[in-house]
């Protein structure tokens, strides 16, 4: 009789995910007992649950790096930071959604459950140390998001958005899987640590010229480019972001990028550094194309939500710029740069607050039968409600990268990262497109403050939900605080980045 060996599993390391799974169960069951008018209780329960999960995640700071589930799952400072970012994003989204889904008449408890499912997928993705966990995480995250995008069942735009995203996403997942299969085929292992060992032990030149590996890199890059919505793989983005419920758009624009970036950093920098001459070029082109395409396309938009969608696409380009410049070759040796990885992490952190804030303003304007989606709807707001107008102005200035907001420090950090490793042209493209972006952000500011209201007698309708106002206050103060005193946050990102190496 063969002996059955039970692998040594440290369940305590996976405590955030386990507690999140339990939370999802609680939410779903609780939802059965709540009457349709009181669905916000389900939201409150999920919010409390997310805070608890966040607490468990934060207790994992500085215990790593440790792996479990036979090396499928890794915990280090990097994963803790990004998991916290995603959980904070989810918490703020839930807070904003409590009132919003009532207005949009999709007040179902399943909304919160779906959101939590996608968060689960993201957490698994951030801690993935294996190709199979990677795929598991991506799929869990994506399928839940597809459902969330199509959540407004009675709105044709939402259904179309969800379907478009789902179809293209499924295709992209297939491409990703093909790349994963090829990588596994060459190295014989799915674990990241094992693959890295196999690739680094052989001669670099022979590795780089292996057709299987080159093809695998191309497919992997293609799959991730879709997830991050990099040009020209971004075609699903404007429709998906515009059609989805605005809280889902806000959540998607930040959390999906954070999770995808996490696994990309692990995969490409830790596992495939030997192939960096291959994928650096690919990502360079993608980053440049994304920054240019996103900013130029946003100029033409009249729909504010679509404009913000293109703007978040261009921000993915800036983040990628920081990621691409992670590598430099010095005397034939690959030099990691935790300066660059920390710039990516820092930007994801402040982007969370800024982007949620910008979308939060859209949510604020959304009332019964009237969405503030068109730029024209915001005409003259600055005169009747200057405080809210200023709030939006600060979020827009932060997106554009104007001091003294957090967006400026983040962009500076990204450009510094690019210049440090001598990616000068990428930095120039980034800087110029960043200046261009001020045009369309400035147009919204102009419409709000410098143009008279369409009809002075018709007052602006906006939400007065305390949950939303509370969220906006938090986001605004974080945007300004991180712009004026970013030091502690930069130190945290530096610690997170250095834990990778």
């Amino acid at each position: 009789m063969q002996q059955v060996v039970i692998p040594d599993i440290l369940f305590s390391l996976a405590f955030p995910e386990i507690s999140l799974a339990i939370l999802i169960g609680i939410v779903l069951i609780f939802d059965l007992f709540v009457s349709p008018e009181k669905k916000s209780l389900v939201g409150a329960v999920s919010l409390i649950g997310i805070v608890v999960v966040l607490y468990f995640t934060l207790t994992q700071w500085n215990i790593g790096p440790k792996t479990t589930f036979s090396d499928f799952y890794i915990v280090d400072n990097f994963s803790v930071f990004l998991k916290s970012t995603i959980l904070i994003c989810a918490a703020l989204t839930v807070l904003m959604s409590i009132d919003y889904i009532k207005v949009e008449k999709i007040n179902y408890g399943e909304f919160y459950a779906m959101l939590l499912f996608s968060v689960f997928g993201m957490l698994v993705l951030v801690s993935a140390n294996d190709l199979m966990t990677l795929y598991l995480g991506i799929e869990t995250m994506s399928i839940s998001i597809y459902v969330l995008v199509a959540f407004m069942r009675n709105d044709v735009l939402s259904r179309e958005a969800g379907f478009k995203y789902f179809l293209m996403g499924a295709f992209a997942s297939g491409i990703l899987l093909y790349g994963i299969a090829l990588l596994y085929g060459y190295t014989g292992n799915t674990s990241f640590t094992a693959i890295a060992k196999v690739l680094s032990s052989s001669n670099v030149n022979s590795i780089v010229s292996q057709p299987v590996l080159i093809l695998s890199v191309i497919l992997l890059v293609g799959g991730f480019a879709f997830k991050m919505a990099l040009a020209p793989f971004h075609m699903w983005l404007p429709d998906a972001y515009t059609g989805a419920p605005t809280t889902v758009t806000a959540f998607m624009s930040v959390a999906v990028k954070a999770a995808a970036m996490a696994v990309m950093v692990r995969l490409f920098i830790i596992v495939l550094p030997t192939l960096s001459t291959r994928w650096t070029v690919l990502f360079w082109v993608l980053a440049a194309a994304t920054m240019i395409w996103g900013n130029v396309a946003a100029i033409a938009q009249k729909n504010l939500k679509r404009m913000l969608a293109y703007s978040s696409m261009s921000h993915a380009g800036y983040i990628l710029m920081g990621f691409v410049s992670c590598f430099s070759i010095n005397n034939g040796k690959y030099i990691f740069s935790d300066f660059n990885v920390s710039s990516v992490l820092f930007y994801l952190g402040i982007y969370l607050f800024t982007n949620l804030g910008a979308f939060g303003m859209l949510i604020w304007m959304c009332q019964e039968g009237k969405r503030g989606d068109q730029i024209e709807d915001w005409r003259g707001l600055g005169q009747s409600h200057p405080w809210f107008g200023m709030c939006f102005v600060i979020f827009l200035l932060s997106l554009a990268g104007i001091p003294p907001t957090a967006g400026f420090v983040g962009k500076l950090y990204l450009f510094a990262a690019a210049i440090q490793n001598e990616f000068y042209w990428l930095a120039v493209i980034g800087i110029l497109t960043s200046a261009i972006s001020m045009y369309y952000y400035g147009r919204v500011i102009m419409v709000m403050f410098m143009e008279p209201a369409k009809d002075p007698n018709v007052p602006f309708e906006f939400s007065r939900a305390s949950s939303l106002i509370c969220t906006l206050v938090i986001l605004l103060s974080m945007t300004l605080y991180l712009g004026l005193f970013p030091d502690s946050f930069i130190n945290i990102t530096k610690l997170s980045a250095s834990s990778l190496f």
């Binding site: 200035l397 200046a435 410098m450």
Partner: protein, 519 residues
């Protein structure tokens, strides 16, 4: 008393005032807002006076220094200081802010609360730009000034305000983000080959600057050049200026011409010359060419204008061409002249815009053809305009002459060709100014709308008076002003000329060795 963070107070007092107005004063209480804003600006001017009285003229380095650590992880510190280059600009800024607040009392009749808040925020930004020694801090304040100015032009501006506002914002933003590349290149050079630490503070970078290899210096110079040349504005980057000036409200134009343009020239003297001496030497012909084109082109285009404000805007281009000529003469007289002319331009062109604003408030037109023969109707106004105009031309006895004369000496020392072209500019300057004066003030009062125009009232005389007094003071007794600037500017000249000196030494040594070989 010595331990008071004077510079921080000067910078943040307007911000505090703006926040108080935003939070505690209702928009209906217009009089309170105006009084409060005036009070804040006056207080700010008063606390900036110790910078004049307690300034040590012989000290070339930074005085009243305040340093605190801000973002140590990337080497940014909260580092403020004043030296000869910035001290007069600070005083000019606080004075101009006070004057622009007072001059807007009757000019702005809607949304006053936001207006005065914008003006005060602008004040904070400008003061911070001149006082920052840490380049990151400088850049933050530099960009911060763009937003209130954008609002000033876009909300309270003229007919094409939206176009002018976004053009101003994007044009200057474009320049400053490219400058950011230069800053970062400098920062990383310092980390890799300089002191080895991440730092943005100028005192450390001044040491590293001359060590940068020429090829990198050229690129950094070009990056800074784009940023500052758009701000100055130098030809051919000046096209945003006429639109911004004409469409801005009076106070906006005064601040724009008086202070914001100086940030460009200040940037050249503070950053480009000391940090990149070899590249500066290399680019002198190019910069002098652009300055001279600016002088002559600005003057010629000014002559062709029919709108008084646009004429004054182009005269700014011409005058700042003079300043740049002085700066890039790279000798003591040129730099002192250029620096002094910065102040003079702020005073005289600021006064010109104020005067145009006065007459615009009465007639709501700036077309020269609408005026004529005003001297009979508004004698006090005519006198003040005459003094300002003569100061702008550079008549001896008034401030413009001192600055222009020093610049000409400096340019002549560099090459008499430069001085020749500059002199043409002076003549042209006199031409368009005198012609403007003649068309507007002399001749017959033909237009019936001009017949009952009220002369300057007490408030207007009060806010123009300080400028007129300064025009005479600097013109007749410039010594205290020049003394303040001398030490720091001498140091800049020394840094820039070091290479020239060492080249001369090398040439002399070469000749000595040849002579000794012959023997």
């Amino acid at each position: 008393m010595n331990n008071l963070p004077l510079l921080s107070l000067i910078i943040f007092l307007p911000l505090l005032g703006a926040i108080i107005i935003m939070l505690f004063i209702k928009k209906e209480q217009v009089k309170t807002i105006k009084m409060f804003a005036t009070g804040v600006a006056f207080l700010d001017f008063l606390i900036s006076l110790p910078l004049w009285t307690n300034f040590n003229d012989s000290e070339a380095g930074f005085q009243f220094v305040e340093k605190a650590s801000w973002i140590p992880s990337i080497g940014v510190s909260y580092y403020l200081g004043v030296d000869g280059i910035s001290v007069l600009l600070i005083l000019l800024t606080t004075l101009t802010m006070l004057i622009s607040i007072v001059c807007s009392f009757t000019a702005i009749k809607e949304r006053e609360k936001e207006y005065y808040v914008c003006l005060l925020l602008l004040g904070t930004g400008m003061l911070g730009t001149f006082l920052a020694i840490d380049i990151f801090l400088f850049y933050v304040f530099f960009e911060v000034t763009l937003v209130p100015m954008y609002f000033l032009i876009g909300i309270w501006g003229g007919t094409r305000k939206l176009y002018a506002a976004i053009k101003f914002f994007l044009y200057t933003l474009f320049g400053s983000v490219l400058m950011l590349l230069g800053i970062l290149a400098l920062y990383f050079f310092n980390m890799k080959s300089g002191t080895g630490t991440l730092t943005f503070s100028l005192t450390e970078l001044y040491v590293v600057g001359p060590k940068i290899p020429l090829s990198l210096q050229v690129w950094i110079f070009l990056a800074f050049f784009i940023g500052f040349a758009i701000k100055v504005p130098m030809f051919p980057f000046h096209t945003w200026l006429p639109d911004a000036h004409v469409e801005a409200p009076t106070a906006g134009s005064v601040i724009l011409a008086g202070i914001l343009l100086k940030m460009g020239t200040y940037g050249f003297v503070r950053f480009v010359l000391p940090l990149l001496p070899e590249a500066t030497q290399l680019f002198v012909p190019f910069m002098v060419l652009l300055s001279i084109i600016g002088i002559i082109y600005g003057a010629l285009v000014a002559m062709a204008q029919t709108d008084i404000k646009k004429l004054v805007a182009y005269s700014s281009v011409s005058h700042l061409g003079f300043v740049m000529l002085g700066v890039f003469a790279l000798n003591e007289q040129g730099l002192i002249g250029g620096q002094l002319q910065m102040i003079n331009h702020g005073i005289s062109t600021g006064a010109l815009f104020l005067l145009v604003g006065i007459v615009y408030e009465r007639r709501h037109t700036r077309e020269i053809s609408e005026y004529g023969g005003l001297s009979k109707q508004m004698p006090i106004f005519t006198v003040i305009f005459a003094i300002t105009m003569l100061s702008s031309i550079g008549l001896p006895g008034l401030n413009g002459f001192v600055g222009e004369f020093l610049i000409l000496i400096g340019a002549f020392k560099k090459s008499y060709v430069y001085a020749a072209f500059a002199v043409i500019g002076i003549v042209l300057g006199a031409a368009y100014m005198l012609w403007l004066f003649q068309r507007v003030f002399f001749g017959k009062l033909e237009n019936p709308k001009n017949e009952n125009l009220p002369d300057c009232n007490l408030r207007e005389i009060l806010y123009l008076a300080p400028l007129v007094i300064l025009m005479f003071w600097i013109g007749l007794y410039p010594k205290p002003f020049i003394n303040k600037m001398e030490a720091s500017l001498k140091r800049v000249v020394k840094i820039v000329d070091q290479n020239e000196a060492s080249k001369k030494v090398a040439i002399i040594q070469d000749r000595i060795s040849k002579v000794s070989v012959k023997n």
